[in-house]
């Protein structure tokens, strides 16, 4: 290349120095604005008569709050909900992380779930609640979704647990009794094989993004009786149970060929729900809202052709994963008492019944679970009551995002036959050990 000095070339050393000076100037400005750590003032208790106004940031899962709950809340407490904003779940994380990092108080109440409670809780961005502020009859997975390492960072707004949904029409077409759920994994595989014909698949799932891959692996791990971490958060998922679970998952796709290959590119539960509603899939394991999607007017299924039951187990009878959501209080909120009043209001029986009846999610408290009107409105509740007898977990952790990303790469490679389940999990476990060490300072 010609680099003779006569060539006119726009960058001189002098220019670089000038640029450096500009950078140094802005650097000095930045150094002045480093924020000092906030002092925390202990867990929040219920007390006094909260008033004033609050702002709420929610995902777009529920419509019952803006339709009726907010008005009822304002009427009963005298607290004004100045704004209730709904965002796309996938966009919320970035938005909240930005606001928290800037110590912003635009929203007093924010939506949370197991992952964020751990992540934002550990970052010191969510207000810890005192035990006295928490209703006594909450269901355990619901409480887990708002807690991290024994600290409670919010209250649940609904419970979401996966159950098995099947298409009775397809069962009948293939000469299978549509009323009986498979008792174990082998029966499930046999069934799925019978249901797979041509472009119709016995089973489909959503593992197209990191969270999806994590969930589908976790479900397999749990029904093999395994656990992600021991009591001290040492990762143990690469043990026998994990390898067996992942092997069986890979087999569904590669050996039995009953899994819709599209499963690897379905990035969220709603796409899976739509796929099932198109009537060419025999069985899915999905969240409660699958009921509403499958019985909607545009669906090929109806109430009568939709089967629902427990997820079949391998080493245990059944197990499931949790996806419950809740509300938490922004650490930088100026009106935490009023925010707490909203959290508690959402957990009350009246609101919970509405969420069950109008939206098809499970209630957060045992009393509503037993209410006869609730079961009448949402038949899936019967199955849900059964699942409470078995393990339901999520393992929300502060390192969830990093871990899901690393794990999903291994899982997808295993699914595509590029690596063995054993090696895939061993590699992911090594990553997990590093992350646990980093975040728990062990």
């Amino acid at each position: 290349m010609d680099t003779s000095p006569t060539m006119s070339y726009p960058i001189s050393r002098r220019n670089l120095l000038q640029l450096g000076g500009l950078a140094a100037g802005t650097l000095a400005l930045a150094a002045c604005s480093t924020t000092s750590p906030q002092s925390s003032a202990g867990p929040l208790k219920t007390g006094g008569k909260p008033s004033g106004q609050i702002n709420i940031l929610d995902d777009n899962t529920n419509s019952v709050f803006k339709d009726s709950t907010i008005a009822a809340f304002e009427k009963q407490t005298g607290i004004k909900v100045a704004s209730y904003q709904q965002g796309n779940f996938n966009d919320l994380h970035d938005k909240m992380a930005t606001m928290f990092a800037a110590q912003d108080a635009s929203f007093d109440v924010v939506m949370t779930w197991a992952g964020w409670s751990a992540e934002f809780g550990q970052a010191g961005w969510l207000q810890e609640l005192d035990k006295t502020a928490v209703p006594s009859d909450l269901i355990q997975p619901a409480l887990d979704a708002v807690s991290w390492r024994g600290k409670i960072y919010g209250l649940p707004k609904f419970v979401s647990v996966q159950t098995m949904f099947w298409n009775k029409d397809i069962y009948k077409k293939n000469g299978i009794d549509p009323h009986v759920a498979p008792a174990n994994w082998d029966e499930f595989v046999k069934l799925a094989k019978k249901l797979t014909t041509g472009s119709q698949f016995g089973y489909a799932c959503d593992m197209g993004n990191p969270a999806g891959a994590y969930q589908n692996f976790l479900r397999m791990l749990l029904i093999c009786g395994g656990e992600m971490y021991d009591a001290d958060y040492n990762p143990i998922f690469a043990g026998e149970a994990g390898v067996e679970g992942l092997t069986k998952l890979v087999e569904l796709l590669q050996l039995h060929r009953v899994m819709d290959p599209a499963s690897l590119q379905i990035t969220n539960a709603s796409d899976l729900a739509d796929l099932f509603a198109r009537g060419t899939t025999g069985i899915v394991f999905n969240w409660p809202f699958q009921y509403a999607v499958a019985t909607a007017a545009t669906s090929k299924l109806t109430k009568d052709s939709l089967g629902n039951g427990l997820i079949p187990g391998i080493s245990v009878t059944s197990a499931s994963i949790d996806g419950s959501e809740g509300f938490a209080i922004n650490k930088y909120s100026k009106n935490k008492e009023a925010a707490l009043a909203w959290l508690q209001f959402v957990a009350t029986e009246t609101v919970q019944l509405q969420i069950v009846e109008k939206e098809g999610w499970f209630p957060v408290s045992k009393s509503v679970l037993e209410a006869p009107t609730a079961v009448a409105a949402l038949p899936v509740l019967t199955t849900y009551k059964e699942t409470t007898r078995y393990v339901t977990k999520r393992y929300g952790t502060p390192w969830g995002n990093e871990f899901d990303q690393a794990l999903s790469i291994q899982i997808i490679n295993a699914m595509n036959g590029k690596t063995s389940p054993k090696d895939a999990l061993a590699s992911a476990q090594t990553t997990a050990q590093g992350l646990v060490k980093k975040y728990l300072k062990k």
Partner: protein
């Protein structure tokens, strides 16, 4: 007389500075502070999930950057994506521009319709390709099946390499109109007489292209290559929407800029993420300088005009 000229010159300079001030002020005010903040963070151990105790760690983040296998992987993907979109994109743009530079009926309408992809915002772009390449309901499978090219649905978005190729395709589709117009405009600036002379000399099409066309569109070519290199290295929106915000499957579309996003926003590791972003910035500049060197400096012509 000389003194008066000097005075006029000074006044000129002052007027020039006055004209520059608003633009520079806006840029410095809005971007100076955030930029400095980012550079500052890149020298810190600053992970929001580890609490508020940030501390200076010198070049540690940059050292990690050099040794991190995730970065290497992302750089590989970025190189693949950028080489195809930049070199392939510009080459394709020249070809299409040559095609459209001919006189034919409906030339205007074709040029107008060419602008359509440019007008589609990246967010919409992502949604659109999802509707096309979805493995179960996408129209791509339906068409290929009805043409008898494939028998079973292809899962375009479940294979890392295939998804990367779709991303390359989607981005090329989006950026081609601008590049095409640029090249078309450049072609129209080449004096006709040169082509006539070449024809008389009996040069074939290929020779004419290398000897006449290419040297005469050198400037626009450099501009296109620089701008497209910047856009390619910083691609984000389409990946975000196409892969559900994951850069998947199996990290197959996690280019270096997307990795910086994941580090900053998913992992909340602001220090390391900032170092990554500063690295990207340096990379972009290096590549821009590379193109300038290849094309022999962008002010050669300007100097000539000054003289």
């Amino acid at each position: 007389m000389a003194g008066l000229a000097e005075l006029g010159r000074k006044r000129e300079t002052r007027f020039g500075l006055l004209l520059i001030t608003p633009a520079v002020l806006i840029i410095v005010m809005l971007l100076g502070y955030p930029m400095g903040y980012a550079i500052f963070m890149s020298f810190q151990q600053w992970n929001d999930k580890l609490g508020a105790d940030h501390r200076a760690i010198g070049l540690a983040n940059y050292e990690q950057l050099v040794s991190d296998p995730a970065v290497h992987e992302a750089m590989g993907l970025t190189a693949y994506f950028s080489v195809i979109t930049v070199v392939g994109g510009v080459a394709l743009a020249i070809s299409i521009a040559i095609l459209l530079n001919r006189t034919f009926r409906g030339r205007t309408i074709v040029r107008v319709l060419l602008l359509v992809p440019w007008a589609v915002p990246p967010v919409v772009n992502g949604i659109m390709w999802k509707l096309i390449f979805d493995g179960s309901v996408g129209i791509a499978n339906t068409i290929l099946k009805s043409l008898g090219i494939i028998s079973a649905s292809v899962q375009w978005l479940s294979d890392p390499a295939a998804t990367m190729n779709i991303l390359v395709f989607a981005e090329t589709w989006k950026l081609l109109p601008f590049l095409c117009l640029l090249m078309l405009a450049a072609l129209q600036g080449v004096p006709r007489s040169l082509y006539r002379a070449a024809a008389i000399d009996g040069a074939d099409a290929w020779n004419t292209f290398w000897r006449i066309t290419l040297p005469n569109i050198r400037g626009p070519l450099m501009f296109a290559l620089i701008v497209q290199s910047m856009w390619s290295l910083k691609v984000f929106d389409t990946i975000y929407v196409l892969t559900g915000g994951s850069g998947g499957p199996a990290g197959g579309t996690t280019t270096i800029n997307f990795l910086a996003y994941l580090t900053n926003f998913s992992n909340l590791d602001r220090g390391y993420g900032s170092a990554m972003a500063v690295g990207i910035m340096i990379l972009v500049l290096v590549i821009a300088v590379f193109w300038i060197l290849v094309f022999g400096g962008f002010n050669r012509k300007r100097r000539a005009a000054d003289a």
